[in-house]
Every structure is written in C-alpha cells, then in structure tokens.
C-alpha cells in the first residue's frame, strides 16, 4: 500500500471544497451547464442516460480494505447499492445525485480516494499490473513509477487542457497484464545490460474509432529520465495534436499522421532541451516514493500445506483453485483473482455487501489489500496457501467464487446502452446470455483460455478490438446489430481483431459465438492449442465460413 503524505491529503480535501462550491453555484444557476460541464468532468462526473455517473480512480489498481469499505458506503448511501469496476482501474457509480456528490467526495477523501482527472482532456488514472509487487519474476514494483507519474500528472498546469484524454499504463513483467500497447503511453520496465532500471517507451496506442497498437518510440529510457521524456512526448502532442476534430485529436492520430520516426525526432529535440532540468529524478526522490509503499512481512510457509492437500479432494475447490489462484513471489502464498463475472450477472459489478465482505476477507487473508484489474475482476494479492480452502468457502458464501477467470464467461463489457449516453447497443445483456450459454464449467474448461470483449459503441470502452472474440454494438435502422471480430489480444503480443463478416442482430450474437467456439474446438490441433493460437494459425476464414454458412 502507498501512504499519501500531507500534501496529497490536503490537495484531495481542497478539491472537495472547491467542487462543493462549484456544485452549489451550478444548482443556484450562477454557473450554466456550459460553464460547469468541464468542471464536473474534471471530477469524474458524467451525465448518462438515467442519471449522473461518478467515476472514482483506483490508482494502479491498489485498494486498502478501509478504502473498499468506503466505496461500499458510497454505493449504499449515495447510489443504489452497487458499483461497477471498469477496464481502467476505476469504479463507477451509476445513479449518483449531483446535489449529493460533494458529500460522497468528502467521504472518499477521508480515506485518500478521489476522482480527479477520471474524465476530461487531461492525464487519466495511471494504470498498472494488478499483480504489481507480488508477481513472480517481476523486476521491480511498477507502482513506484506509477505513483511518480500520478504525482507528476495530477493537476499539471501545462497538461490540463490537452487536445484529448491521455492514458498511461505500466508493467514490469514479461507478461503484460496492464495492456500497455493500447495506451497513449505504455511503459515496460526492464533493466538494461548495465543493470540500470529504465523503460521501453511505447506511444500512440489506443482503441476507439481508429484503433492502433502502440509503437516503440525509444527502446530504453533511464528511470531518472522518465518524467522529462514523458514531458517531451506530451509537449509535442500538446503542440501538434489536433483540436479541430475530436475524432482525430488523440496522440495515436498524430503519431500515425507524422509517422513514428518523425514524431520521435520531434520528441528527441524537445527532450534534449529539458532532460537535465528539474524533471530529472534523483535517487532520493525515487527512494522517498518507494519508502511510502509498505509491504507485508511474509511468513516462511510451505508450498503445499496440509489444508491445501486435504481440500484437493474436493473437485469444486480444485476447479476454483485451478482458475483463480496464481503463483506468488513468496513461497507459501498465492494471488487470488476474484471473478466479478457470475453467470447471468453484469460484468464488473459488485454490491456494497460484497465489497464490505471482501474487505473483511482481505483483512483476514490478504494483509488488508485488494487489487483491481483491467479485466474487471478483483484480486487478493497476498493469500497464504493454507488459507485458500477457507477463503474459497467464504467467497462462495458471498457469490464471489465463480471459477471462470480467463475462461469464456470471464467477459469484459462496457455498460452499453443500458446506461451510457454514447452507446448504440446494449452490452450487458449480450454478456449475460453468453455466460448462461457457457455456464457449464466442464465445457468452459474444455474450451480453455478465451477472452470475449463487448463494446456498445465504437468508443470501445469494452476493448472489443483486442478481445480474442470482440463484439461491437452498432445501430441499423433503429435496431441493435453487432459486428464480430476474432484474433485480437491485449497482452505483450497485442493485436487488433479481424472482422469476420456482416453484423448480426441482437438475438443471434450468442449463437454466432457458439459457432465460433465450436469451429475452434474442431480446428485446434491439440487441447493445449488456445483459441487465439488457432486463429493465428488459420486466419479468420474457417470461422467466417462456419458462422455465415447458414446465415
């Protein structure tokens, strides 16, 4: 966990006071909506179909049990008793009242949570690997650098009015769980041949209307130069990024239009002007940030305790363990992913009761810490393996033991037309139907790792472009239709999916996905060949033939 200092605490509380005054002036008519809109967006407040939506940042996906309880409190007191975890380590409340928002913000500020820059044309919540600090083989905890970036970008005066929103993601593991290649700036921490910590810097990734996989702009930037190099990128973007067309304003368009070489040259020229200035990070600064992260003191525990050995005879426990429990850097401990994808449930939603109960379980079994992943699941990052059977039973009692992590029903979906004013089609009912179709765990296990992503419009909040199977809602003559892509992925081999053919109506989507899955099962060479590998080997044609042969 990271402990905010007095400056941060003061900043957050001052922000609440400022917003309280802005809301008061808006409700009295002193501020018009045109004047107020940017102010509310900078505090994560959108206007959706039914109500205001309030987006709260969970920087680098790390939450304390105390903070999770406070989120539950906000859900219960100011909303309708639940929250929705998003694809960027935020939580959204869908029914918040503007008049009550300042009180909700104040309650969150008391535990160091805020909503600054979760919307608007500025730097958004800095995201990272939800297993940061505990993943085996990780070079260093990337949250230290995420926090440096968070402090640097928060209320940065030069970058508060960018051409468009701007998103960072950081990983320090070989396997990318932070989807860095679909971010405006993606950072992969590694050590060079001299053993120095630095970053491969990628730029210009993003989804939406015009999707791009990020390109490497510099293979190695020393850690001490991170901020100056990032500032150089953002200055070039701020200067040349388009402001005349919202659809062409993201940095990915600038990188594409200039070309990565020309863009890199512009950045290099800027960087040479500032790299040895105030932004150069000295060791003391980095160590100060590092020292504010606290880590559990792990016991020396056996890898295979008796409790786990006994529980292995229970097939239901074993099914859950196989799909939800992952290796930890400390012997005798595991990372436990908590699926927020129950059969028939909206992906990413958790009730206040579940959040409270999970906070208690985090205190009991995970040193009071919870993580939030971009897959819209949660994780307990420090669970002693001897406690896994008891944890499983406790999770089962609160409806959080669905054994489907990384399987076909572990679906990423945006809120879609049920909530969102931008959406063309519903996402959640499609996800719900798919979870019912693939509710049989034996079938899901047989299929293996398969990621389905659903977006209700081209803005791609459900990351459909990078789903192994991507589903995009469109509107045709007032009806909901869905385009299907396959072959996308968001990891270190990130790729955009390929459209398999004409869009299909709402009631046919689940049938189409079943056809694709059946085709895969027939086409794979061995049970170990994952869906994404079969698509890579054969291309989309066999799947297209299967889907459209009878349509």
């Amino acid at each position: 966990m990271y402990a905010y200092d007095e400056i941060d605490r003061t900043l957050i509380h001052e922000r609440v006071s400022e917003f309280r005054d802005q809301v008061k002036r808006r409700l009295s008519g002193e501020l018009t909506e045109d004047e107020f809109k940017m102010l509310r967006l900078q505090n994560g407040v959108y206007l959706q179909l039914h109500a205001y939506m309030f987006r709260v940042a969970i920087p680098y996906g790390t939450l304390s049990s105390k903070q999770l309880r406070r989120l539950a409190h906000v859900a219960r007191r100011y909303d309708r008793g639940y929250g929705h975890f998003t694809t960027r380590q935020n939580i959204q409340f869908n029914w918040i009242k503007l008049a009550e928002l300042p009180d909700a913000l104040a309650d969150l500020a008391d535990v160091g949570i805020h909503s600054m820059q979760t919307s608007g044309n500025n730097t958004r919540n800095v995201t990272s690997d939800q297993w940061a600090g505990v993943a085996p083989g990780e070079l260093e905890d990337p949250r230290i650098w995420s926090e440096i970036l968070r402090q640097y970008t928060t209320l940065h005066p030069e970058f508060s009015f960018l051409p468009r929103k701007f998103k960072f993601a950081i990983t320090a593991s070989a396997h990318d769980r932070a989807a860095i290649k679909i971010h405006d700036i993606g950072l992969r921490l590694y050590k060079n041949e001299q053993g120095e910590t630095g970053f491969e810097v990628l730029v210009g990734g993003g989804l939406g209307r015009t999707p791009f996989i990020a390109k490497t702009i510099r293979p190695f930037v020393h850690g001490r130069d991170l901020l100056s190099y990032v500032e150089a990128i953002m200055r070039v973007y701020n200067q040349y990024g388009r402001r005349d067309n919202i659809y062409k304003a993201r940095i990915k368009i600038l990188v594409h239009e200039l070309g990565i070489e020309k863009f890199a040259q512009e950045v290099e020229e800027e960087w040479q002007q500032i790299r040895d200035g105030d932004l150069r990070l000295d060791d003391a600064t980095i160590e100060d940030i590092r020292s504010r992260f606290t880590y559990p003191v792990y016991e020396k525990l056996p890898h295979m305790p008796d409790e786990l050995r006994k529980a292995a005879h229970d097939p239901l426990f074993e099914r859950w363990r196989k799909n939800s429990v992952f290796p930890h850097k400390a012997q005798g401990y595991s990372i436990v992913t908590i699926s927020l994808k129950p059969v028939g449930g909206p992906p990413g939603d958790a009730s206040a009761e579940q959040m409270d109960a999970l906070a208690d379980l985090a205190d009991k079994y995970s040193f009071g810490e919870i993580r939030v992943g971009h897959e819209q699941n949660l994780a307990l990052p420090h669970v002693a393996r001897r406690d896994l059977p008891a944890l499983w039973q406790a999770l089962h009692r609160i409806g959080l033991a669905t054994p489907n992590v990384n399987l076909v029903s572990d679906i990423i979906a945006c809120p879609g037309l049920d909530y969102c004013s931008l959406a063309n089609a519903r996402s959640i009912p499609i996800a719900q139907e798919l979870t019912r179709r693939f509710a049989n765990h034996d079938t899901a296990d047989l299929i293996g790792r398969l990621h389905i992503n659903i977006s209700g419009c081209i803005n791609a909040c459900g990351h459909h472009h990078v789903g192994h199977i991507g589903i995009l809602g469109v509107e045709k003559n007032g009806e909901e239709f869905y385009q299907i892509t396959i072959g996308g992925r968001a990891d270190e081999q990130a790729a955009l999916g390929t459209l398999i053919g004409p869009s299909v109506p709402f009631h046919e989507v689940a049938d189409v996905v079943e056809d694709i899955v059946e085709a895969y099962l027939a086409l794979r060479t061995t049970p170990d060949e994952l869906f994404i590998d079969t698509v890579q080997r054969l291309g989309v044609e066999p799947f297209r033939e299967r889907v459209y042969a009878t349509r």
Binding site: Y52, K97, L98, D349
Partner: protein
Amino acid sequence: MTSPLEQKIRITGPSVVTANRTWDGAVVYRTTGRDWSTDLADAAVVRAVPDARALLAESVADDVGAVGAYIAPVEIGDGGKPAPGNLREHIRATGVTIALAVQA
C-alpha cells in the same frame, strides 16, 4: 459544442423534449405547463418542426431545471398518451433492461 438550438431539427412524427434534471440527473420531459415531469405521459407532444424548435428553445432556456435537452421521438398509443419511440428512449423511460446487482 454546438448548441441544440443551432442544430438542424428533423422530426418524422410525434416528438417530445427530454432532458436530465439538474440536481439529480433524473430523466424528465417538458410539459405543456412549461415545467418538467418525470412522467412521459405529461410531456408536451409536437408534430411540426417550428413547434419542436419552440419547445426546445423554451426547454434549453431552463438551464437550472434540466440539462442536455433534446427532441426525442414518441409513439402515440390508443389512449393518446406518448410512449418511447426507440430503444434508447425506452431504456431512459423505463430503466435498464437487466437485473441490477442490488434490486431497488
């Protein structure tokens, strides 16, 4: 952002003006009494562009009462009452089409 009053107005049938109430964001409809109602049945129904433009102008002018006013299609049922004219408006009028994590 272009004001709704500067946008070209096209209507193909009976229409209403809808928005979200400022203090809580609730879906509201402009009434014949120059006020807002959360009940679509209370909405003023217009059928011609000049009437729609006038209703929208009056609605937009009430910036404190509601935000984001726009013209939405409706269908007129047997009882003469307006009903939502498309899926989006149906969802706005009747709520999400899914069961919530916590039932109200």
